[in-house]
Amino acid sequence: MRRSVRTILLVLGSLVVVVVGAGVAGFLWLRYAPRHVPDGQPGLARLDEASLPRFRETFNAGVDGIRIVALLSPT
């Protein structure tokens, strides 16, 4: 009886370690993974209040053609 309780605790402890480890690994991956755009595209640009006018300029620079704007979340 005492042995089986110990076994259950060991299994539960291992599961906790695995789950926490996977969570930490996932967090580290999301936080520090490489972030490169595909070849042929300009680098990933930051968009904020200061750069919004530049974003508009980029939009307007394509005035001779169709523009698509997509807003997406990364996960």
Binding site: V37, Q41, L47, G65, I68
Partner: protein, 133 residues
Amino acid sequence: MCLRGASALQRAIDEYPSETLSVLVVWEPVLSTDIAPPTTATLGLVHDSRAVQYWDAGRTLSADLVRSMIANPERYGVEAHDVTPDTIVWDAVAVFPAGARWERDLPVPAFMDFPVVEAADGLRASLAALSTP
């Protein structure tokens, strides 16, 4: 859902080879897992060379679009009560015709829908309609 939307967007623009097409992809944090900019793999979902990709950590563009829509809901064909200052525009795609210029407010899109993965057919139809002389 958004990652499938990015793939659907790429497939749609694959069918539209015009060099004058511009694609602005704005990634923004919405979900609790959106703790950093998109990874290389995510950015690679839209691999078209006509695309420019952005990381909008403060959801600046969404807020600007919401501001425009609240200021003039009729112009954008939205109900005033459907858009509040807390509204987040995400997993959405809009198409703008040639000639549309963005001055103070966003021009009226020829097509806008969400989620992107379900908007792909409408996106294709819009591209086809706008590219017909």
